[in-house]
Amino acid sequence: MTAVGVQPSAVGRGDVVLRADGLSKRFGGLLAVQNVSFSQYDGEILAVIGPNGAGKTTLLNLLSGVYRPSSGRLHLLGRDVTQEPMEARCHAGLGRAFQIVRPFPEMTVHENVTVGALFGTRGTTLGQARERAYDLLERTGLAAHADKEAHELTLLQDKRLEVARALATQPRVLLLDEVMAGLRPGEAQEAVGLVRSVRDSGVSVLFIEHIMPVVRDLADRVVVMDQGQVLAEGTYHEVTANPQVVAAYLGTEEGLHA
C-alpha cells in the first residue's frame, strides 16, 4: 500500500482503510447514529463535524468498538470487524483518543503511554514499549512531565497524553475526538502540525472538531453530521457552502464560523 505522502489531491485514489456501511446505534428511543456510511482513504485526514449532540462521539464509539452497532457493518483495512471487540480492533490498527480524557490516574505519564505501546502492537517487549513511549512524549512535548502522575497534569497536557497514548499503539487509522478544544490559537497551530506529521508518517486520521479554522487547515475531506445522520460530505469549501449545513448550524451556540 502506498502509505506515505498522499496529497489531498490524491483523495479517492488511495485504498480504503475504513469503511462504514449503514451504521446505526439506538439508545432506547433515541437513534443517536442513523444509517451512517462513509469511507476513509489511506493517508487521508477526514474531519467529522456537526452541532452538539449530532452523534459524532457515538459514531466514534461504534468505530472503536465501545458500542456494538444496532445495525450496519464496519470494515477496517479490508477486514470485517463489526463483531470484533475493542482490543482486536486496536491490534488491527485502530487508535483512539477520547473526548473526555481518560488517563490512568495512578500511573505516571510515561507509564500511561507505555501501556499503549506495550499492548497496542503484538510482540512488543517492555523495553521497546518504554523507548517508544518516551519518543512519543518528546514528540508531543510531554517529556518534561514523564515522571508526573497523570492526575497532576493540566487538562491541556491530558489531551496531549490522550494523543500520545493512542499513537503509541501504532495505529494505521487514528481517531481523534475534539483534542483541540480549549487550546489557544498558537497551541492549536502546534497541534495541527502534529496531526500533519502523524499523517505524513503513514497514518490516516479521522478527527472530530468544532474549531472551524482547524478543520479548514487540516481536513482533506469533511463529513457533516446532524441528528445522527450524515448531512453532507465533501471538501471544506463544498460543505460550508451547502445551505443545509448552514441551516443545521444556525441557532446552535458555536455557529459555523466560530
Binding site: 482490543e87 481518560r102 490512568f104 495512578e106 501501556v115 506495550l118 499492548f119 497496542g120 518516551y134 517529556a143
Partner: protein, 325 residues
C-alpha cells in the same frame, strides 16, 4: 539518585523495582529464616506455631492482593483457600504430599477460571457479592459430597504435613511465602503489572489500547487462586482436621482483604507486613477477645479506609510515589 536529577531518558531505563525498595522485604525474609533458631525459651513451640500461621496469612493476603491489582476485589478467597485444603486432604490419601500440594493448587486455579469467566463483566459490589455467593455454593457442595470421601458437615482428617514436624512445616510455609513474594515481584516487573494496573484504572480504556482484558483477568484469577490454595494446603496439613464451616468461613475472605488494605494495596511488602502486624495483634488480643476477634478486622478496615488510604506502606513511604514494591 534523586528523582529530580535523573531527567530525560533515564525514565526509560529506571528499574521497575529499585534495589533500595527490596531491602525491607529482604530483611523480613531474613528474620523469618532465622526465627526458629532464636532462643525462644519454653514457649518456642507456641511461638513457632504463631509464626507459621503468620506466614500462611501472608500467603493469603499477598495472593489476594495480586487479584485485586487487576481490579477484582474478591470475597471468594476463602473458596480457593478451602479448595486447596480439601484438595490436599483428598489427594494426600492417594499421592505423596509434594505432588498432592501442587495438584490441589492446580485444581483450585482451574476452578477459579470458571468463576473468573462468569464474573468477567461484573465490577464493584456486583463482583463482591457474586464472589461471596460463589463461596457459599462451593461450601454447600463440599458439605454435601458423600460423607465417606469428604466428611460432610463434620469434617475430615488430613494427613499431617511432613510427619507433623513443626520446624519442617515452618520452613515449608516460609518457602511458599517466599515463592508467593517472588511471583508478586516478577509480576511487578513484567507486562502483567501494566495490564493489571490499566484494567484496574480504566477497563474500557485499557481495551481500546489493546489490552486483552479477558486473558489478563483470568490470569490474575489463576495465579491468585493457585497461591491461595497453597496457603490452604499449609493450613490443612498443619491442623490435620478440617470442616467446611471453618475452612470456607467468610473470615478467610475478610482477613486477606483487610490485611492487604491495612498493609498497603498493590504492593508485595504491604500485605506481608499487614499480616505480621494483624496476626501478632490477634494472638495478643485472643485472651481478651475469644469469640468475635474479627471485630478487630472490621475496625482496622474502617480506620484504614478513613485515615490510612495507602496503608502501612503509605506511612513508610510518605510523600513518595511510584516504584512501590
Amino acid at each position: 539518585m534523586s528523582r529530580a536529577m535523573d531527567g530525560g531518558r533515564a525514565v526509560v531505563r529506571r528499574p521497575d523495582v529499585p534495589l533500595r525498595a527490596l531491602l525491607p522485604l529482604g530483611l523480613f525474609f531474613l528474620l523469618a529464616l532465622v526465627f526458629p533458631f532464636l532462643p525462644l525459651g519454653e514457649r518456642s513451640e507456641y511461638l513457632l506455631q504463631i509464626a507459621f500461621f503468620t506466614l500462611v496469612a501472608g500467603v493469603l493476603a499477598l495472593s489476594w492482593d495480586i487479584l485485586a491489582r487487576s481490579g477484582q476485589v474478591s470475597l471468594a478467597h476463602a473458596a480457593f483457600y478451602g479448595l486447596g485444603a480439601y484438595g490436599f486432604a483428598l489427594l494426600g490419601k492417594v499421592m505423596p504430599w509434594f505432588l498432592a500440594m501442587p495438584a490441589a493448587a492446580l485444581i483450585a486455579g482451574l476452578i477459579s477460571l470458571i468463576l473468573g469467566a462468569v464474573t468477567m463483566r461484573l465490577s464493584g459490589m456486583y463482583f463482591a457479592i457474586a464472589t461471596l455467593a460463589f463461596t457459599e455454593v462451593v461450601r454447600t457442595i463440599i458439605q454435601n459430597l458423600p460423607e465417606a470421601t469428604a466428611g460432610g458437615a463434620n469434617g475430615l482428617l488430613v494427613p499431617a504435613l511432613l510427619g507433623g514436624n513443626a520446624r519442617a512445616q515452618y520452613f515449608l510455609a516460609f518457602g511458599i511465602l517466599l515463592f508467593t513474594a517472588l511471583v508478586s515481584l516478577a509480576i511487578r516487573r513484567s507486562r502483567l503489572h501494566h495490564a493489571f494496573a490499566a484494567i484496574r484504572q480504566g477497563e474500557e480504556t485499557a481495551r481500546v489500547l489493546g489490552v486483552s482484558v479477558v486473558k489478563y483477568k483470568l490470569l490474575a484469577f489463576f495465579i491468585s487462586s493457585f497461591l491461595a490454595a497453597l496457603g490452604g494446603v499449609l493450613y490443612a496439613g498443619k491442623t490435620f482436621f478440617i470442616n467446611p464451616l471453618e475452612t470456607f468461613s467468610l473470615a478467610n475472605s475478610i482477613a486477606p482483604l483487610t490485611t492487604s488494605i491495612f498493609g498497603g494495596l498493590y504492593t508485595t511488602l504491604g500485605p506481608i507486613l499487614g499480616a505480621t502486624v494483624l496476626r501478632v495483634a490477634e494472638e495478643i488480643l485472643h485472651n481478651s477477645i475469644k469469640n468475635g476477634y474479627l471485630v478487630v478486622y472490621g475496625l482496622v478496615l474502617m480506620l484504614s479506609i478513613l485515615w490510612l488510604p495507602r496503608g502501612l506502606m503509605g506511612l513508610l513511604r510518605r510523600g513518595k510515589h511510584g516504584g512501590d514494591v
